[in-house]
Symmetry: C2
């Protein structure tokens, strides 16, 4: 048996026993903490920096090479190079976490009244006698009614109830789901009331474990959507699923498999059993909600783009294969239209657009782009296929917003300053970096208003250090954002003329969509009280850059507000307060969907928006 | 290949193709008609008389021997002896049917408003377009709402809906169960709306196929409860079930197996598929409803006699194994107490006791005896274990009310006239015959007020033909109701001193129960506006005989009313009008259960009622 040491990870307070010789990176995995490791644990990228505050070992060669003297002095080490040889306390900085940074897990803080669909009610009942011959189920529901909870006993529980009540001496905790009593356990377990809120994105899945007794978030976990193996965007998934019921089930099972791993991870973090969780609330775009419910998505993908189901749906965990308590329930939020889903309803709910008098435009740029415009009197929604470019698809060096992705491009004194996520050497370019780069090119004159890269004849107008970065012939031109020396794998990161065109198409679609909605609403840009940016992409982008490339309307910067993973926030809200599901239903019915495809005005706005507005 | 002939059975209008040489009895079975056949098809009992109106063959030897010249002239033949050698039309008299006579299938006629839980709504929807992008489910429910039906689409149907709607060109029939749309079929199938009402008795099961579009009864079928293999009464069944979950499931499956055969029989009679049936409504005593729902009945059988569930319950057909449409539903009516079940609630509902101002006593004598007393202001209910004797249990020659059971005993000019069901030679004695015999004995002086059979010294006081029928020693005395010559198997049918004691115990229990309820209510026998007799036993008994032995209170004969299989009627009512399920729930909660066991006044009344009141 190898010796084991106690390793505590902060700021999580998670403690694990680790076998001697394991790396800190492995120990973190063992603790359920996903760290970045862009170079695959070879000590070459420096992406897995941690601070070892107790039991600090001397730096390894690779560590000494990658870390500054200042960092070494602060006991910073590379997790992949440092082995556990004693008890340790380790602080993981945010930028070394795989998902906490790049996938936006937390949304805006919203006050929610606690009225969860799952209630745990401690009860003490009088024992039966000849003078009190009530049935076991009546005895239970009468005691609940005394606590103000009206419910009937589920048949599955009724079957066990005589035994359960008597073993518990008629004293214990009833688990009530909506208006059905689904379980009765001896003892008071009323504090142990948990639920999971899931934001099922085309690209990423975020799950939050919520304490339904306190409203607090207990833990968050996230991962990529494994359905991506069958296509990056929703259309590819639908094309795959419509082939057969088996394929539809396969896509569903892929997502559910990911859910179940996330649920395990959450349970481990919180030291819970999966069966303690009685409810899972899920939002996602219409295709995602269809796939998870095994609804036929075929007609979403062809005109006139019809969903099978708009309403919110309740399913049995077993029907879907989701590993929470089998007597629990899965609630999937309502959609608006074929390409405007429950995630958009959740954004509206979280941002309170349905009850605000302010005229607001909400933009959620994920793999698809959704737009909502309006206020409590009237809400319009539309979708564009803007997203893929911003998620790294169709971009030569495009990648998701993970460690090593260029996310900042600044021009300082005529020189380019490029930053990658996790302070790691660049590997590629994420959506934010794409906007940043195009914005910088416009500023520098590398591209003109039409998006065309500078001609050889005009190269002399650029600063020398910038001009030197332009490579290739005029029609196959590219800009070197990071050269071979600056990347961890020795391959340069380029942005091509074609990539700029993709950005133009994507931003023009978003912008034209917003213009159509404003025209429908009969307002001008100046009438917008606020522009809300939702989603991970929206949260990391710098608004002046987004505005300068024409992705956002020309609204004053102080009217642009980030609302984080608002879809996830909306899902949490529906988990904590069941009445908000009715609100969501009203939103999903009340929002007017504006179909952009085939609209002449959309085409006009789109052509117009292909031009880059010069930076203001 | 043998030749086949067309045989038509009347009054059913059922037509079957029968192979040459088959007996008419076999042909009837083939047509799904159960005939009596007490001697097992040997032509010795004459219980299977039929009238052959077309293609009448000459009588067989056995037939000629058993049938009168008048019968032979009317083309009456024995079904078991007559072979099919040509096309025939056959009329089966009621007394030759196995169940139509002895198990009371039909109840009192009651006016019910048609508002079934299952609705079939024909719909035509506009096809989707860019201007009408409603989801498939919304399109369906909006069209339903236009017909005044508010419902949401079940997830299982939503999964198939895109395909089903398009195959049907958006025109077809929606099947709505409560407020859920569970199926959509092309074409108009609104007239084909069927449901089944089941009265699950300890001894017998009666199932009625109802047309929910018209309220008409389409067919009825019945059989014995196969659970009887594990005990005649509910206590034995509970003792068996409580041993293990496997045994509980076994009892449940026995009953369900019988249901499924009855459903097949009903479907064959009506030429339906089982999947056309979306709902089954069931009533039964509390033990029966527990066993069918697989609820643990253990605590019903021990003081203080607690049921697991009082409320009505809805279960999925698959959960119970019932072979109707798997998307349909099974509704099991609510109980009142451990020994007063959903069948009693159904009796109250059918008799309208909950809304009548009349003071009425309802008596349902099955394997258990249930009593209900009161009116709309107040209803009291109690149960006694009176039944088994009246169902033939614990009686030496006791049998169920089937062909060959003595059901009438008359004294004419000092001579005994004994009649058996189906005009067949006697085999034994059913509950009705038991009361009749005891009543006749009292009239003749064969037994005295204490139930004691006449002493040898007093034999001379009896008519000679009666005295000759007394056999055995004084303490082991018996009365020969039918001697060896009069029975079909050569064994005499006797009624023993011990049998008389059983009748005394049973009738005393019923009577004492009624007395306790009247005392609770603060009324006297004279205050009873009506005495209602429910159940098969109640329906076949002659009220003056029942009153003469003290089974019924000394109420005027014109206040005694038969209400037939009122439990079955109540089940049909709840099937046809779903709102009556709420009424049933109110009845089950509102009725005051009076626990007779351990009550001193019950013991007193019981002792008093052991005496036979002399005939009035």
């Amino acid at each position: 048996m190898p010796r084991t040491f106690r390793v505590i990870f902060q700021p999580f307070g998670r403690q694990v026993a680790v076998a001697e010789g394991r790396t800190v990176l492995e120990a973190a995995q063992q603790a359920g903490i996903e760290m970045t490791s862009p170079c695959g644990g070879h000590g070459t990228c420096g992406g897995c920096r941690v601070e070892i505050t107790r039991g600090t070992p001397p730096p390894t060669d690779a560590g000494a090479e990658r870390l500054t003297a200042e960092e070494l002095g602060r006991n910073v080490r590379l997790a992949c190079q440092t082995r556990v040889t004693q008890d340790m306390t380790i602080v993981i900085p945010r930028e070394s976490l795989l998902f906490d940074q790049q996938i936006l897990e937390t949304g805006i803080a919203v006050n929610v009244e606690l009225d969860p669909n799952v209630r745990r009610v401690p009860l003490k009942m009088p024992e039966p006698s000849v003078d009190d011959q009530r049935s076991d189920a009546d005895r239970l529901t009468d005691a609940l009614a005394e606590q103000g909870v009206e419910a009937t006993v589920d048949l599955a529980l009724a079957r066990e109830l005589p035994d359960r009540l008597r073993r518990a001496d008629f004293s214990g905790t009833a688990v009530v789901l909506a208006d059905r009593v689904v379980q009765f356990d001896r003892g008071d377990s009323s504090a142990a009331n948990y639920g999971v809120a899931v934001d099922l994105g085309t690209t990423t899945i975020v799950a939050a474990l919520m304490n339904l007794a306190t409203g607090q978030e207990v833990a968050v976990a996230s991962c990529g959507n494994p359905q991506a193996a069958h296509g990056d965007d929703v259309i590819s998934r639908i094309m795959y699923a419509q082939e057969s019921a088996t394929r539809l089930r396969e896509l569903q099972q892929l997502a559910v498999g990911a859910f179940n791993k996330l649920i395990d991870e959450l349970c481990e973090k919180a030291d819970l059993k999966r069966t303690s969780i009685y409810e899972l609330v899920l939002v996602g775009n219409t295709t995602m909600t269809h796939l998870i419910l095994r609804l036929d998505p075929t007609y979403i993908a062809r005109a006139p783009f019809i969903a099978a189901l708009r309403r919110g749906a309740v399913a049995a965990p077993r029907d879907l294969g989701i590993a929470i308590n089998p007597r629990g329930s899965v609630y999937v939020g309502p959609n608006i239209a074929g390409f405007v889903g429950a995630d958009t309803v959740a954004v509206i709910l979280a941002a309170g657009m349905h009850k605000s008098d302010k005229m607001r435009l909400a933009i959620d740029i994920g793999t698809n782009g959704e737009l909502v415009l309006g206020h409590r009197q009237r809400l319009l929604a539309a979708s564009t296929a803007a997203g893929p470019a911003f998620e790294g698809a169709r971009i030569k060096y495009g990648m998701r917003a993970a460690a090593g992705a260029i996310d900042r491009v600044d021009v300082l004194d005529g020189r380019l300053r490029v930053h990658a996520i996790g302070d790691a050497p660049a590997i590629g370019l994420c959506g934010t970096g794409l906007i940043e780069a195009v914005s910088a090119f416009l500023e520098l004159g590398v591209i003109d208003e039409t998006g065309r890269m500078i001609e050889d004849a005009d190269l002399a107008k650029l600063p020398k250090s910038i001009a030197a970065r332009l490579v290739g012939a005029e029609n196959d031109r590219a800009f070197v954002l990071a050269d071979a020396k600056e990347t961890h794998n020795g391959h340069p990161v380029l942005l091509t003329q074609k990539d700029v065109r993709e950005v133009q198409l994507a931003k023009a679609a978003m912008y034209a969509g917003a213009k159509v909605l404003m025209a429908e609403m009969g307002i001008k840009v100046a009438d917008l009280d606020e522009v809300l940016l939702a989603g991970a992409f929206g949260n990391f982008i710098r608004p002046d850059r987004a505005r300068s490339v024409g992705l956002l309307p020309e609204t004053p910067l102080d009217r642009i507000r980030f609302i984080g993973n608002a879809a996830g926030t909306g899902a949490r809200m529906m988990l904590l307060d069941r009445r908000l599901r009715d609100t969501a239903e009203e939103i999903s019915l009340g929002v007017e969907h504006v179909e952009l495809s085939g609209r002449a005005d959309f085409q006009d706005f789109f052509a117009e928006a292909m031009l880059f507005t010069p930076p203001s």
